[in-house]
């Protein structure tokens, strides 16, 4: 991926994501009643996502690869989808300030995708209609889990501050606890069916293409564990009223497992030859 325009777009997107993260951080720690840095952060995150999306399209054209194939693109697409979902949904759930978590995550995913090899070998051997469904469902689900994770982290920070009886400062600039809890649940609820589709199609696909190596087994196990954790969080919330802190910890654990799956893909890509 040495095309200068693609590289320039990648750097620009990274810089914009970084600027968004800084703007959100300044908002959280800043003074004054108006919130110019929050708006700035939202705009920068949106702009970063647009640049990143353009970079993905350009990159896929240059490499002549479908952008849903391979971990290289997958991480990028998750990042863009998460940012886009944040920009669209932030007003509905009143979670603007969780951009402070979304922006660095988007940057991390972008850096991860840049580190991975642009390669479709993982899926190259399979010409199946199942593949796009599997990949897309996982990517959309992952993007929604990014937002659920961000809301969960925001919840835990706000909860900790309130339990310490700190009412001003950061907690005053984070969304209300209730809004964070609802947002986390909503994103989890929306992402879970996607993950389920991803798991089912993945199981079907694995039988045909996977080698049965330790890495493949670990990835599958972590995939199932992610699904089980999220299912548990949702079921316990519905059945036993597990909200707030417990649900937040469950969501964070589920997201951590999902990230492990991505990391396994990422590590595996390092061992594969360049396209």
């Amino acid at each position: 991926m040495s095309h200068p325009l693609v590289n320039a777009l990648l750097l620009l997107a990274a810089a914009t994501y970084s600027a968004a993260a800084v703007a959100f951080l300044v908002h959280l720690t800043g003074r004054g009643q108006k919130r110019p840095y929050l708006r700035m952060g939202v705009w920068l995150l949106g702009a970063g996502a647009a640049l990143h999306a353009t970079q993905i399209v350009m990159s896929s054209l240059v490499l002549d690869l479908c952008p849903i194939k391979g971990i290289h693109f997958a991480l990028s697409v998750v990042s863009v989808l998460a940012c886009a979902a944040y920009v669209v949904m932030r007003r509905r759930y009143r979670i603007d300030a969780v951009g402070v978590i979304v922006a660095p995550l988007a940057l991390t995913f972008l850096v991860g995708s840049a580190a991975a090899h642009a390669d479709a070998s993982a899926a190259g051997s399979l010409k199946s209609a199942v593949l796009p469904v599997h990949v897309l469902a996982n990517l959309v689900g992952e993007a929604l889990f990014v937002l659920a994770f961000a809301a969960a982290v925001g919840y835990l920070i706000a909860d900790k501050q309130l339990k310490k009886k700190h009412v001003g400062g950061v907690v005053a600039r984070l969304p209300p606890l209730d809004a964070l809890d609802r947002a986390e649940h909503a994103f989890l609820l929306a992402g879970f069916p996607m993950l389920t589709v991803g798991i089912i199609t993945g199981a079907f696909w694995a039988e045909r293409v996977e080698s049965g190596s330790a890495v493949d087994i670990a990835r599958s196990l972590f995939g199932y564990a992610t699904w089980a954790l999220f299912a548990g969080v949702l079921l316990l919330r519905a059945g036993r009223g597990w909200r707030g802190k417990r649900a937040a910890y469950g969501t964070i654990a589920g997201f951590a497992f999902a990230v492990v799956v991505l990391v396994i893909y990422l590590v595996r890509s390092f061992g594969e030859p360049h396209a």
Binding site: Q33, K34, L162, P176, L177, D178, R243, G244
Partner: protein
């Protein structure tokens, strides 16, 4: 320049201030009286519960003009307060020029308010401004000063945290509910206890709530209070059921024992299926067992916590006041520079008139003589050239003169110009600003 005469919580006790309330003090009435005074060129009347003051621009710039204007305002205020000028004088403050501009900016920015940083004062000054505009008592100078005051207040609000934080028990309770629930549009506020403190909290918290419910040992008192807020009442025996549906609970009973215990809340949280619950315990002794705060999704703030937040809010505002005062000082300097620029305006106008007059006269003489053959189009082009030459020729001196005026040397330079160019006596010209700057227009839009 402007003068300010008035009284406030800093200079007059409430017995004096309350004499200025009522219909006789309505802005229209006061503006009518002030407009009738020949000593005043422009006036604005501001009346709040803690402040009554008149902003005015005297007719004329001499010291005697200012003294007459101050006396006129004092007389109107004394009449308004049904007292004599001498009796009123000890509680009045009088400010002139720079000090008056600073005062207007400080008042509008809430730096002179009883509760530092309170937001209402800006709206009250805007209302006073609108009333003065409607009564036709404002012209360019005072109007500009007040407009600048609005933008100063805006700067103070956005660049400092003077208005941030909470400075009363009720507002802390409201802030707490915002931290947990955002707004209470779908929320229920439960008052446990029906005393005065519960009523005060209900007034603040109840504004945005879906419903207010009152739970009290005496059902009659609960019903009376609930009726006042359009809510429902319940006896104290139904507390557990009430807690299961409430979102914010304000406790204020005189009970010597805990009314809300950890065991009770644990049972309630099961029934609530983990939904968050906020207790604002304003009772002494406390009504809510302190370890209830340790239960997941339950938050308890007692009177000490609330008072601590009030103290934090007040301290933070006092700390921010220094930064706000700096903004005020910067803006006062800018306004004074602009105002001093007006002193040299007559010299600029006279110089332009003379220069253009000479050039036009010479051009016309040529047009009647050697240039008689020129067409109408050529003549128009020639006159346009004259205007352009006037502008280019006078651009540098005009700019430098204004700059010098801002530095306080304007009068000297204006007198020199008058001497050098034999300009006519510099009568005061209408001090309309030449043109509104983009910043002014932005400020005006912002205060709409």
């Amino acid at each position: 320049m402007i003068v300010v005469v008035g009284l406030s919580h800093r200079t007059a006790p409430v017995e004096v201030r309350e004499r200025f309330a009522g219909e006789a003090g309505a802005p229209e009435v006061m503006l009518g009286k002030l407009r009738g005074r020949p000593e005043l060129d422009e006036v604005m009347f501001l009346s709040t519960c803690n402040r009554v003051e008149v902003l005015a621009r005297p007719k004329g710039n001499a010291d005697a003009d200012r003294a007459r204007a101050l006396k006129a305002v004092r007389e109107v205020l004394a009449e308004h307060g049904s007292t004599s000028e001498n009796d009123l004088k000890p509680v009045l403050y009088e400010k002139e020029g720079e000090e008056a501009v600073r005062h207007v900016y400080r008042v509008t920015s809430s730096l002179d308010s009883m509760v530092l940083g309170e937001p209402q004062i800006l709206g009250q000054v805007k209302d006073a401004y609108d009333a003065a505009v409607a009564a036709g008592t404002l012209r360019s100078f005072l109007a500009r000063c007040v407009h600048r005051a609005f933008s100063v207040a805006k700067r103070v609000r956005s660049e400092t945290a003077l208005g941030a934080g909470t400075v009363s028990i009720s507002s802390v309770a409201v802030e707490l509910s915002k931290r947990v629930f955002g707004d209470l549009n779908d929320g229920i506020v439960l008052l446990v206890g029906a005393g005065e403190m519960a009523e005060a909290a209900a007034k603040s918290l109840g504004k945005g709530a879906k419903e207010i419910r009152v739970c009290n040992r005496s059902f009659e008192r609960a019903a009376t209070l609930a009726q006042r807020f359009g809510g429902a009442a319940a006896p104290l025996t139904a507390l557990e059921a009430e807690l299961a549906t409430a979102d914010v609970v304000v406790t204020s009973t005189a009970s010597p024992n805990f009314v809300v215990t950890r065991d009770l809340v644990k049972r309630v949280m099961k029934a609530r299926r983990g939904r968050a619950l906020l207790f604002v315990d304003i009772a002494v002794p406390r009504n809510v067992e302190p370890n209830v705060h340790g239960i997941d999704n339950v938050y308890v703030f007692d009177i000490d916590d609330l008072e601590q937040q009030v103290a934090v809010g007040l301290d933070a505002r006092r700390a921010e006041a220094t930064a706000a005062e700096k903004i005020v000082e910067q803006e006062v300097v800018q306004f004074l520079q602009w105002a001093r620029g007006l002193d040299v305006q007559p010299a600029i106008v006279a110089l332009r008139a003379k220069t253009r007059g000479i050039l036009v006269a010479e051009a016309e003489r040529s047009l009647q003589g050697r240039l008689k053959h020129l067409t109408e189009g050529d003549r128009a082009a020639l006159m346009q050239m004259v205007d352009s030459a006037t502008n280019k020729l006078l651009h540098a001196p005009t700019t430098r003169l204004r700059r010098a005026a801002g530095d306080g040397d304007g009068q000297t330079l204006a007198a020199t110009l008058q001497e050098l160019f034999e300009l006519p006596t510099l009568h005061e010209v209408d001090e309309e600003p030449d043109e509104k700057t983009e910043k002014d227009e932005d400020d005006e839009r912002a205060v709409q």
